[in-house]
């Protein structure tokens, strides 16, 4: 089947490009540094825990902070890899002329787009899962803390990766590689701005709310990250610390104490499906 051949080809190609290997090696380095820093930081925190009025809460605060921070790092790294790996998935092949001998084969053009999409989706999903669980595994190894809802949090991150992949898939059929990359980076980095604006404004008005909604519709990655951060907070925190400063302090531009709304979740799934389809339709009509 043509689609699966293209998927296999895409995976093979990704591993033959130095980009993916370089990212994997750098990640190993990053994880090693993280393990060293974590060990050092936790040793200090554990030593001073007894000095605080509530040592358990003090340690929980550390565990939560380091857990959320590490998964946020995984979210950023996964987004970065998605962009650099996939911005040229169609446009670069067209620019290099390598598509001529593939598109002229007995294949529907949609098979090429969806085959490539599937290949990258597999690579990026596995990468994201490995990264998240390695971070959380290291934290568990040193602190004994592991988020009870790690899987739903990972699901949100995976969906965020697929959202970004959908965007680059479409962009790659519409724009040259560099333009597609610039758009993806601007949107991915720009999306959290809405959260920052909401934090800064003491009384968020209707306009700010509308802008946030619009941003989340254009690129729901930040909303999905907030959804993931919600699942990283243990459920007992919500019940035991309701209304306390500790819980309110977790409602930041980086984190949320509310789950992703079902409407936005549905929109993110629709986004992942519709954008590649539009890309395939566009590619079907494109002269090569």
């Amino acid at each position: 089947m043509g689609l699966l051949l293209i998927t296999r080809f895409t995976i093979q190609e990704a591993f033959h490009r130095w980009l993916l290997l370089a990212m994997l090696l750098l990640n190993l380095l990053l994880l090693a540094v993280f393990a060293l820093l974590l060990n050092s930081a936790y040793t200090g925190v554990a030593a001073h825990a007894a000095d605080h009025s509530n040592p358990q809460l003090y340690l929980l605060e550390f565990d939560l902070s380091i857990g959320i921070l590490s998964v946020w790092a995984a979210y950023l790294l996964s987004g970065a890899l998605t962009i650099v790996l996939t911005i040229g998935m169609t446009s670069m092949e067209i620019e290099a002329g390598t598509f001529s001998v593939i598109v002229s084969k007995p294949l529907h053009r949609a098979e090429i787009i969806f085959g490539k999409w599937l290949g990258y989706a597999l690579i990026l999903s596995i990468y994201t899962a490995m990264l998240v669980f390695t971070f959380l595994g290291l934290i568990y190894w040193r602190t004994g803390y592991f988020p009870e809802n790690a899987l739903p949090a990972l699901g949100m991150l995976e969906l965020s990766t697929l959202v970004l992949l959908a965007l680059t898939t479409l962009g790659s059929t519409l724009f040259p590689t560099l333009v597609n990359g610039a758009i993806a980076i601007m949107l991915f980095i720009g999306a959290p701005l809405a959260s920052f604006v909401q934090l800064i404004s003491t009384t968020p008005g209707e306009t700010a709310q509308n802008v946030t909604t619009l941003v989340n519709l254009v690129i729901p990655t930040d909303a999905l990250w907030h959804g993931a951060s919600y699942y990283l907070i243990p459920s007992f925190v919500f019940s035991a610390l309701q209304g306390q400063d500790f819980l309110n302090g977790l409602n930041t531009p980086f984190t949320s104490i509310h789950p992703l709304s079902p409407a936005l979740f549905a929109w993110a799934i629709l986004y992942c499906i519709v954008l590649p389809i539009i890309g395939a339709v566009r590619f079907q009509r494109r002269d090569l």
Partner: protein, 314 residues
């Protein structure tokens, strides 16, 4: 070409392609037949590659119909019977030769022992046996052309579409490829060869279409198109007015070579007139004759002659 192969291989009717406001192909109609080697000859920018891209489904026509082996060109299944080598073969450099052919063979639907057999056969055919474990990134331009031809032939296509076959090859490579194409033609494979090289189409093709500025100027057998008029290249010690006057009575036309004042290009109707030309030069005018040889018209000259003839016809 056998007579039982009068089924069409390529049918183009009223084909037009406009890129924004630039007309690349303007109302082209032609038919090539099964088992025929058909040459598409024209200068760079004539619209040849656009036609080939339309034939291979890479480009959609603005207007007109195109059928390949009896089916509309946008039917995916018909592509199982067509092989294509683009003008500038650009392949994924990380592929090894064998893996590259395996991938393309699989795209054509080949599997298992048949695929393995065909990989070995086509590598042998294009002269790359023993190079199957070499990465394409280390291939020379000529080797890329050869592996490109191998992927176009791996599924034993009924029709091979080739865009500028020998552009990256050295003389030995060009000879090998021409022999290979002649062998394919002998086996009954239809060939559509895009080229700006007269030698290519003359050596391989049964019929040729000359295309310029998006329009077909002429279609016919190479001998009809290129050998109608005979041109002699004549070099003498001195070209006098008297000599030119005498020659003009026996020749259809006379041209002086711009870069060689002692060289003339004399167009004659029949081969026998060459003897008359020699007689005039040596005996009637007393000049010394250094060279008298038939000269093939260059592609450029054929274009200009064809265009002039069309203008006169209008």
């Amino acid at each position: 070409m056998s007579n039982d192969s009068r089924l069409p291989a390529v049918e183009i009717q009223g084909l037009r392609k406009v890129y924004q406001q630039i007309i690349a192909v303007d109302d082209i109609s032609l038919v090539t037949y099964r088992g025929e080697a058909f040459g598409f000859l024209g200068p760079n920018g004539a619209g040849k590659s656009t036609v080939v891209k339309i034939l291979t489904g890479l480009v959609a026509p603005t207007k007109g119909t195109v059928r390949v082996l009896g089916q509309p060109v946008n039917h995916v299944e018909i592509r199982r019977r067509v092989g294509y080598l683009p003008e500038f073969p650009s392949f994924h450099r990380w592929f090894k030769g064998r893996d590259f052919l395996e991938f393309h063979g699989r795209l054509y639907g080949l599997r298992g022992a048949m695929l393995e057999k065909r990989i070995r056969e086509v590598l042998e055919m294009v002269g790359l046996a023993g190079r199957e474990h070499q990465k394409l990134g280390t291939f020379s331009k000529g080797m890329l052309q050869r592996i490109g031809l191998a992927q176009a032939l791996i599924h034993k296509p009924d029709l091979v579409i080739l865009d500028e076959l020998v552009s990256g090859l050295d003389p030995v490579g060009q000879r090998d490829m021409r022999e290979l194409l002649r062998a394919l033609r002998e086996e009954g494979t239809s060939i559509f060869l895009n080229s700006h090289l007269l030698a290519d189409v003359e050596a391989i093709c049964d019929r040729v279409a000359i295309i310029n500025q998006g329009r077909i100027l002429k279609v016919g057998a190479p001998a009809e198109l290129f050998d109608k008029k005979k041109v002699l290249e004549v070099r003498v010690d001195h070209v006098s007015e008297e000599l030119l006057q005498h020659l003009s009575s026996a020749a259809l036309s006379i041209q002086r070579e711009e870069d060689d004042p002692c060289c003339l290009l004399i167009e004659i109707q029949h081969d026998e007139q060459a003897a008359d030309i020699a007689d005039i030069i040596v005996h009637a005018c007393g000049a010394r004759l250094y060279t008298l040889a038939p000269r093939r018209l260059s592609l450029e000259q054929i274009f200009f002659q064809t265009i002039d003839a069309l203008n006169q016809g209008n």
